[in-house]
């Protein structure tokens, strides 16, 4: 299972949850944290890599209102949108750069 949740803690309910991502680390964790921290309903958002030999990442979201899962979904979707937009800009700039190269040679 690529994603599970931390069970059995009394701090877990619909609005406070710790998600465990298998096979991920700081690459996705920090980027996702950066996006989700910007949502106004989020009270607390942080990630940790418990041990470098274990390839998992623990991601905790606490909401003022609303479900933690919804914030996570929104964060992932926003990160996809961010990546797509950066890719578009980069491709466009690459084409413009090629055009400038052709003009100068």
């Amino acid at each position: 299972m690529p994603i599970t949740q931390l069970l059995g803690t009394k701090d877990t309910n619909d609005s406070c949850r710790t998600f465990i991502f298998q096979g991920e680390g700081h690459t996705l964790g920090n980027a996702l944290r950066c996006v989700i921290s910007g949502y106004p309903d989020v009270e607390f958002c942080a990630y940790t890599v418990p041990h470098p030999m274990e390839h998992s990442m623990h991601f905790r979201i606490q909401m003022k209102k609303g479900r933690a899962v919804d914030a996570l979904k929104r964060g992932l979707e926003d990160l996809v949108a961010v990546s797509d937009h950066i890719l578009d800009e980069f491709s466009r700039e690459k084409q413009a750069f090629d055009g400038r190269q052709e003009l100068s040679t």
């Binding site: 991920e24 979707e77 937009h85 950066i86 980069f90 491709s91 466009r92 700039e93 690459k94």
Partner: protein, 378 residues
């Protein structure tokens, strides 16, 4: 109030003049003109150059903000404080504003919660140099977490081809088998990784052992990128007879599969000259920085004066703070969301493809987890 506005206007015009190429330092300002202009500072600076606005208000923010009576100036100043917080301050020993400001409501009166529209508006990409192996480009308007995610992916999660399985038939050299195999693995291979896909599609129905593969890949047959890498040295009567297999992999598994020699970024430096520096001091000041960063030009009164020409080339060595006569006159900082990436490819993949792939890898990671979340019943 009048005094403050005079200074404000003077600095504003000084900054605009320097930005737009005229090198005048002092202009005669009329108080009435200042009063007329201050109400439109926001239009002038928010859209054209928030940097100039932030620079203008910088000394007043730190020293005088609490003394301002006028509510309008206070609210405008706070908006510039937001742009100002995008810079790191480095003054003598202290580094200011290092904590992340990417959570909403870190500054009163400004709503900087996550906004996709604003992000798209502020994002900028500019390629400085792109050839077969190296690329240098700027990425402006992202948070460090995302820039770092791309750097990490370029290093370890873009697949390439490298020697992985080696059948050794004979090795009577002085080099042990595993050492030789380790060296073979590190040899960069000129093969397009996209030709070797994990999944078999109907297009690959004619896929068969290596023999026919050589015909399919005839336009770019897999071979080492460099013909002159010394693998080992033999003495008389020693022999090495090996058969090697190249497999596709990612840098996370072993660094030999990394597509880049390295991928790094730095932040754009910013040098702010708070008080003008003239004469011989200006030439000494120029020597404190890397070549080409500071320019000494004759100002309107014919005196040589130091101006910042190209802060991008500076290494921010802080040499200037070792000289007490300049230490108070200059401030060094970095622009928090302007990343100058430098991607050095090993040659198998061109650098712009590496970065484009990195962005797609991040996007795919998110898609994997979105699908997993959708499949969960909760």
């Amino acid at each position: 109030d009048d005094h403050f506005l005079c200074i404000l206007m003077e600095r504003m015009l000084m900054e605009m003049a320097i930005q737009y190429g005229q090198q005048d330092s002092f202009l005669e300002i009329n108080c009435e003109l200042v009063k007329h202009f201050y109400k439109r500072i926001e239009e002038l600076f928010m859209n054209i150059s928030p940097i100039a606005g932030a620079l203008l208000l910088q000394p007043f923010i730190t020293n005088h903000l609490v003394d301002l009576d006028d509510q309008e100036i206070k609210s405008i100043s706070k908006r510039f404080l937001y742009y100002f917080k995008l810079r790191f301050g480095e003054n003598d020993a202290d580094v200011k504003f290092t904590s992340s400001s990417d959570f909403p409501r870190s500054i009163d009166g400004i709503d900087d919660s996550w906004n996709l529209f604003n992000f798209k508006k502020n994002l900028r990409v500019a390629i400085g140099r792109l050839d077969r192996l190296d690329m240098e480009f700027d990425l402006v308007g992202v948070d460090a977490a995302i820039a770092n995610a791309f750097r990490r992916i370029c290093l370890v999660e873009i697949p390439t081809m490298a020697i992985e399985k080696v059948w050794i038939f004979n090795n009577t050299s002085v080099m042990p088998d595993e050492v030789l195999c380790h060296r073979l693995g590190l040899v960069p291979i000129d093969a397009d990784p996209f030709e070797f896909n994990y999944f078999v599609t109907t297009k690959d129905l004619k896929w068969s052992p290596a023999g026919t593969q050589l015909e399919d890949l005839a336009s770019r047959p897999p071979r080492p990128l460099h013909d002159d890498i010394v693998l080992l040295k033999l003495a008389p009567n020693q022999e090495v007879d090996v058969q090697m297999f190249c497999l596709k992999g990612i840098g996370k598994t072993h660094a030999k599969w990394s597509p880049v020699a390295t991928c790094s970024y730095r932040l754009l430096p910013e040098i702010i000259i708070k008080e003008p520096i003239y004469g011989q001091d200006a030439y000494d000041f120029q020597k404190c920085f890397s070549e080409g960063v500071i320019d000494v030009i004759k100002n309107k009164r014919g005196i040589p004066e130091a101006v910042v020409k190209n802060p991008r080339m500076d290494t921010l060595s802080r040499e200037v703070f070792r000289h007490p006569k300049y230490a108070k006159k200059v401030e060094l900082s970095r622009i928090r969301d302007h990343f100058i990436y430098f991607i050095e490819s090993t040659g198998a993949l061109p650098p712009h493809t590496i970065f484009s792939s990195a962005i797609e890898v991040l996007s795919n990671k998110c898609d994997v987890f979105l699908e997993a979340l959708n499949n969960l019943s909760t």
